[in-house]
Amino acid sequence: MRIIVCVKAVPSTTEVKMDPVTNTIVRDGAQSVVNPFDSTALELALRIKDEREALGDDVRVTVLSMGIPDTERLLRDCIARGADDGLLLSDRAFAGADTLATSYALSCGIRHLGRPDVVICGKMAVDGDTAQIGPEIAGVLDVPCIADVRELLACDGNCLRVRRGTDAGIELVEAPLPAVITVAKDAAQLRMPAICGVRASLAAPVEVLDVAGVGADPARCGLAGSPTQVVRSFVPERSSGGAWLEGSPAQQAEQLVELVEGMGL
């Protein structure tokens, strides 16, 4: 059985400093980490591996990322925690990719690795929040996608069964393999690396491929392959036209009661 986990490097901190002159985010070279949703995705993959291997199956978990060369460090950390190997797509020509170009590149990586049984992605990345990569990869590969998986119940070689969130509540669903699933952050907690895992990760194979190496069409990668463009980013205005209630807490509360009564509540 082959499981591919897609991971993204994201800034380690959600605390954001602003540059007062240019009103932009100051990141100061903050170390990147694996997107927390993707850590959960890896843990679910490792659980399938543990379970199937106990039954005598052979399961290979590969972590896949598109990113800068430094991302290899994160893939090795995933291997230290139990993944078997990694593939990093790294090339200046991948830079500036929107979700369409990213899902195309990752799909090329998946095809390069051979047809997987399951592709697991985090539901979204904490920096982009688009939640589009998983469904888009499923679209490219033409396989079913189950989004927002809260719990993985079973996964044998033929199908998987999960609990997922929908607009109308939680559903227990079953899909044939191959399939793509995207997972909620709280579906699992990624295990710590074992000493032997750390040792193994140093020697483990992490393939690094550029656009040509993975057989991608450069016109569909990076900036060139991205239909969308960011034309402006700005700090939202915080205009407060609101009324300020003065006085002691008791007086403030009194005015609030008036406001509530004024609304007929």
Binding site: P11, V16, M18, D19, V21, T22, T24, I25, V26, R27, D28, A30, I68, D70, R92, A95, G96, L100, D127, G128, A131, Q132, G134, P135, E136, G139, P144, D148, T166, D167, A168, G169, I170, L172, V173, E174, A175, G222, A224, P227, T228, Q229, V230, R232, S233, F234, P236, R238, G241, G242, W244, L245, P249, A250, A253, E254, L256, V260, M263, L265
Partner: protein, 424 residues
């Protein structure tokens, strides 16, 4: 070749770009900035540069599409579990009406229903402002299956070529939209909160909260059609069906002249020729089987609450939660909270208000000890009146409030509870 370009004449070597970069993608050598292997063309340095020395150059986007062949704004009309049109779809029909008025095009609602569905949904969409409803009544569309819907919408869009496709950023909408966009190989912007359209080009300016939520990003899709966006629920008002209703069925129905002169097309009842029946390819079927369904706990929906008390880290301690519950009870309100409280395990996820939680639209929202991170603010845009209590007068929440109370939130709430108890 596209890429990051530094204007050596302008660059002053101030290193602001280096500080703004999250991927060590730019360095300053001999007082001149230059990109490194780490550059992912995210544009952070472009924004950070105080002298406009950095730009991203791209080759002319070549999709080979004839953009003029695409017209009209489509709104996907998602149905809820009871088979009625989701509120957000009506909000989008209303917004699309405004955009169509600027662009001079029509609003088309796309509706999938079970084989036996009545005309009620189509009629509601028409009276809310749609010029046409594309309807497919087929039992395969009676359940929200992403793949079935994606194949249907994809073939419909390929055949009829909409310029713009809008979907509500519901759980299903955010799963369906990328499945369609990738098949059409077009651009998609997630979870927009502001939409504007260019009259001449029809280019949609899609604004959404970006990185860490501290920035808003405006995104366009210049060379590909349709341009697609999911739009956050609760941002735009639901159009009033009675508004300007002449109830004269427009027999010129699908005429293209309709929206071109005035966008404010008079609302009408659903004339039969405004509803176009379309088909779903017989080969399309669902590959996912739903075995069991656990409906959401009806008593706990903060999304539909009329009054909402929302608490944040500023309430100090979990010990203060009963006081907040008491306040909610006195106001007949539901209790919501910010993400840190859910992460700390004080309240369950279903109480979380904000970008990664629930978007709310109460008449009154009482915000207590909430600083107001933009991810949170993004979820309260639909509230009519926001009252905030916080000890920090600089807290961003006050920027989004109609009524601001600076003070110790526990003291103020204690007083408020006491006075409300006396009242009742």
């Amino acid at each position: 070749m596209s890429g990051l370009v530094v204007d050596a004449e302008r660059c002053i070597g101030c290193r602001r770009c280096v500080r703004a970069c999250g991927s060590a993608g730019i360095e300053v050598v001999d007082r001149l900035a230059r990109p490194t292997q780490g550059c992912i063309l995210c544009g952070a340095c472009v924004d950070a540069c105080p002298v406009d020395a950095i730009s991203i150059e791209r080759d002319a986007s070549a999709s080979g599409q004839d953009l003029d062949a695409y017209r009209d704004i489509w709104v996907f009309a998602q149905l809820d579990a009871a088979g009625s049109v989701e509120r957000v779809a009506l909000e989008l029909v209303g917004k699309a009406r405004q955009l169509a008025a600027v662009r001079g095009c029509r609003v088309v609602a796309v509706l999938g229903e079970g084989a036996g569905a009545s005309d009620d949904n189509a009629r509601l969409l028409m009276s809310s402002g749609a010029d046409e409803v594309l309807r497919c009544r087929d039992d395969r569309l009676a359940t929200l299956d992403t793949e079935v819907y994606a194949r249907w919408l994809t073939s419909l869009a390929e055949e009829r070529r909409p310029e713009t496709v809008l979907l509500g950023a519901t759980a299903f909408g955010r799963e369906l939209a990328p499945a369609v966009a990738v098949r059409l190989r077009t651009g998609l912007t997630a979870d927009c909160t502001v939409l504007e359209i260019d009259q001449a080009s029809g280019q949609l300016q899609q604004t959404r909260p970006a990185f860490g939520g501290n920035l808003m990003a405006t995104i366009v899709c210049p060379g590909h059609r349709p341009q697609m966006a999911t739009v956050r629920p609760g941002i735009f008002p639901v159009p009033d069906p009675a508004d300007g209703s002449s109830l004269t069925a427009s027999s010129e129905g699908d005429a293209t002249s309709d929206g071109q002169t005035s966008g404010e097309r008079p609302a009408s009842g659903a004339a039969a020729d405004d509803v176009t029946e379309v088909k779903l390819d017989p080969a399309v079927s669902s590959r996912i089987r739903v075995l069991e369904h656990e409906p959401v706990d009806a008593g706990a929906s903060i999304a539909d609450a009329e009054v909402l008390v929302v608490v944040g880290r500023g309430i100090g301690s979990k010990k203060n939660l009963p006081l907040m519950r008491r306040l909610a009870e006195l106001l007949g309100a539901e209790l919501g909270c910010t993400r840190p409280l859910v992460e700390a395990g004080w309240l369950e996820y279903r109480h979380q208000v904000g970008q990664t939680g629930v978007s709310v639209a109460p008449r009154l929202l009482l915000s207590i000890g909430v600083s107001g991170a933009i991810q949170h603010l993004a979820g309260i845009g639909g509230a009519q009146t926001v009252v905030a209590i916080n000890e920090d007068s600089e807290a961003p929440i006050f920027g989004a409030s109609d009524c601001c109370v600076v003070g110790d939130c526990i003291e103020v709430v204690n007083e408020l509870v006491a006075q409300l108890e006396r009242r009742s």
